[in-house]
């Protein structure tokens, strides 16, 4: 009985090996005539660029074939996948669509091809101001922006004439609307322990006049007055009932869900939410305005979060990859992405296009917000630094520690990370 099983297994194994060898030979015989380039993109981007890729392949038939590998949906999962591919040596893709915060890490690891030889000063000048940020590290250009992204404050135009400008105003307006039972909640935002929380916090610490990590001298500002104030304000939103308790488990989609059904007066989110709110199933369609985050006068910022294309070092198709990047980021591609998927353009000329502006006036608002963008700390250690902040903020928001203590802890942990990485004496 058992001997029979072994014979059976052996037979299967032999036939499998034969199939394997045969298919390899077949693959080798098929000669390649066109240069094949592949980009790894997170799932939503892979879907959104599908038409553009087809168009590109039509125009370059016989020369270049662009193939987009569809990655996971979540940014973190996407990053894990890209890193594990790159760590193994030869990555199975030539280009990577990269979030703004990954760049210093990937650049320091030596995984990216510098692009300054391909994109000249006049190319850079054609970008909108905010879109020029976060593409370089240590004096090299590594990334060319596909779409700009920045944190925005969404408000209900049917409930107020003007959006609030300061944190106090926002609380006041919210509470009066809640008292009048116009909305259940005042303000919904991203309070879950993940990268979105760091983005929310960055806008607040800047709004209160502080800095997460000072770019010039690496000074940590988390436990200084503005840092603690920002954390205390966010926590206060939950305490005062302006934000629901469940906000501590909210990511973008949960916040959008609450705002979309008309449950709340304000929402912090990215530009993509605009298109969602204009769909027919939205209860607030036509009653939404956008502005930048509330802050002390003159300090309003928008967290920069953009996606850009990079070329992987060691790729044998750098020229072809750059050609594809140029195509995917040119004016007409950006218009198409904006109109179809609501992606914010990066080329200044698209923001200035009168026809487009008439078609969707909101573009002007995006352009205004893009002027006050603020990058998150640009260090290869960003993932750890942000992780530390998220942990402490999360336990502040859930009431497990006071803002003061939490921010002190976040500061000392951040310091520890910077020291042990040899980033400071």
């Amino acid at each position: 009985m058992i001997m029979n099983q072994i014979h059976f297994l052996r037979r299967i194994l032999v036939s499998l090996i034969v199939i394997l060898i045969a298919s390899t030979c077949f693959g080798l015989v098929q000669a390649r005539t066109t240069e094949s380039v592949s980009f790894l993109m997170a799932a939503p981007f892979a879907d959104a660029t599908q038409d553009l890729v087809k168009q590109f392949n039509r125009e370059h038939r016989g020369e270049i074939h662009l193939h987009v590998i569809k990655g996971p949906l979540e940014t973190e999962a996407m990053s894990d996948l890209a890193i594990s591919s790159l760590l193994l040596g030869k990555a199975p893709f030539d280009g990577l669509l990269m979030d703004v915060t990954w760049l210093p890490k990937y650049a320091a690891a030596g995984w990216m091809e510098p692009l300054e030889g391909y994109f000249k000063q006049n190319d850079v000048d054609s970008l909108a101001t905010g879109a020029r940020e976060g593409n370089s590290y240590n004096g090299h250009l590594y990334r060319w922006p596909l779409t700009a992204d920045m944190g925005l404050l969404y408000y209900r135009t049917d409930l107020m004439e003007q959006p609030p400008e300061t944190p106090e105003d926002l609380v006041e307006v919210s509470q009066s609307l809640q008292k009048k039972r116009k909305v259940n909640w005042g303000y919904v935002w991203q309070g879950r322990q993940y990268e979105g929380l760091s983005c929310v916090y960055l806008e607040m610490i800047d709004g209160f006049g502080g800095d997460w990590i000072q770019p010039d001298d690496n000074q940590i500002g988390l436990n200084l007055k503005p840092g603690v104030e920002a954390a205390a304000w966010l926590q206060g939103l939950i305490d005062q009932g302006v934000s629901p308790k469940a906000v501590t488990n909210y990511a973008e989609s949960e916040a959008l869900q609450s705002f979309k059904v008309g449950d709340s007066a304000f929402m912090r989110n990215w530009p993509y939410a605009w298109a969602e709110l204009q769909k027919s199933d939205s209860a607030v369609k036509g009653n939404v305005g956008i502005t930048t985050m509330v802050a002390e006068p003159g300090r309003s910022t928008a967290t920069l979060g953009s996606w850009g294309l990079t070329v992987i070092k060691g790729s044998e198709h750098v020229d072809a990859a750059v050609e594809a990047i140029r195509f995917l980021t040119n004016d007409s591609a950006q218009k198409q992405l904006f109109l179809k998927s609501g992606y914010t353009p990066t080329q200044q000329s698209v923001f200035d296009d009168p026809e487009l502006l008439q078609q969707s006036p909101i573009l002007a608002e995006f352009g205004r917000a893009l002027k006050v963008v603020k990058p998150r700390p640009e260090t290869p250690l960003y993932a750890q630094v942000s992780d530390v902040l998220q942990r402490q903020l999360s336990s502040i928001l859930t009431g497990e520690q006071t803002p003061r203590i939490g921010m002190d802890r976040a500061t000392s942990n951040t310091n520890q990370i910077l020291i042990s990485a040899g980033d400071r004496p």
Binding site: K105, Q193, Q384, T398, A421
Partner: protein, 293 residues
């Protein structure tokens, strides 16, 4: 000639088991991270100093120990009950034994995905149940107080069959006349369990305990897929933290330090657990003779 037969296996074992350990020991005294351009530079004991001060490591260690202790404890108790049930003779016993083995054979990640749905709030059956009996929604995978219990549950479900099978093998070596003797002296089932079953099962319990303890301490698949370490890092295990450090933070020096520390700790824990169990379970004079043929 004999050496020639042993050599290939030995070589492979050295490369895969011993090699990494030496490499970790070496790496743990080096900075090898994205900041150094992924090149190892000696940094004295900085990694170890950081480990000692790293609240997150100690929190993860505590969580890992809680997970291992509770799930191995529950597993052994359940496994003993299952083994006693399967040791009796009844119709369909072999079929049931085979069916209970299924959870053990499935890849952890497959059912971890399943558990995510079963523990889902508000659509999973567990949440329906707690609401039905009036406890209300527990938000199992969103509330740090409950999430670790969910991971224990999923782990116990998967690994109990293995422990049960080992204990069953032990039970089947116990001669029936020993029980008869106790019954003749007027002892009931509990006495049998305490005086015969447990002492004679001792080597099997030890084996199951040590194996499961070491594996539970290295829990990784289940946590990564079921909770990703969340919420609020309340289910993160040391293995997962080491993994994040290497593949997310690109800090190989520190990752190696965490692994090295975990290795030392789990070795100590196994020794302590072994000694403790030697003391706790009463010995039976005949046990040695019976078990070692």
């Amino acid at each position: 000639m004999i050496a020639f037969l042993l050599l290939p296996a030995l070589l492979l074992l050295l490369v895969v088991f011993v090699g990494p350990l030496f490499r970790y020991a070496w790496l743990s005294f080096h900075a090898d991270s994205v900041v150094t351009g992924l090149i190892a530079i000696p940094n004295g004991g900085a990694n170890w100093l950081r480990l000692v001060q790293d609240q997150r490591f100690w929190q993860d260690l505590g969580q890992t120990l809680r997970f291992s202790g509770v799930s191995v404890g529950l597993e052994l108790i359940l496994a003993l009950m299952i083994a006693l049930l399967l040791d009796q003779r009844w119709r369909g016993r072999d079929v049931v034994r085979t069916l209970t083995l299924i959870p053990w054979a499935l890849p952890t990640t497959v059912m971890a995905l399943g558990w995510r749905w079963i523990f889902n709030t508000p659509y999973g059956p567990i949440d329906h149940f707690t609401r039905m009996i009036g406890i209300g929604s527990l938000n199992i995978l969103g509330d740090p107080h409950f999430t670790w219990m969910a991971t224990v549950w999923a782990d116990v479900w998967k690994t109990t069959p293995f422990a049960a099978l080992i204990l069953l093998a032990g039970l089947q070596t116990i001669p029936v006349d020993l029980y008869e003797a106790v019954r003749l002296e007027g002892g009931n089932a509990m006495v049998c369990l305490r005086r015969i079953t447990l002492p004679l099962l001792r080597p099997y319990i030890l084996l199951a305990l040590l194996f499961r303890l070491a594996q539970a301490f290295g829990v990784f698949d289940l946590i990564q897929v079921l909770t990703g370490g969340g919420p609020a890092s309340s289910t993160e295990s040391v293995a997962l933290y080491a993994y994040w450090n290497a593949l997310r933070f690109l800090d190989f020096g520190y990752s190696a330090t965490i692994i090295m520390a975990s290795f030392i700790l789990i070795s100590l824990i196994c020794v302590v657990a072994w000694i403790l169990l030697q003391i706790i379970i009463p010995t039976h004079s005949k046990s040695q003779a019976v078990v070692e043929p």
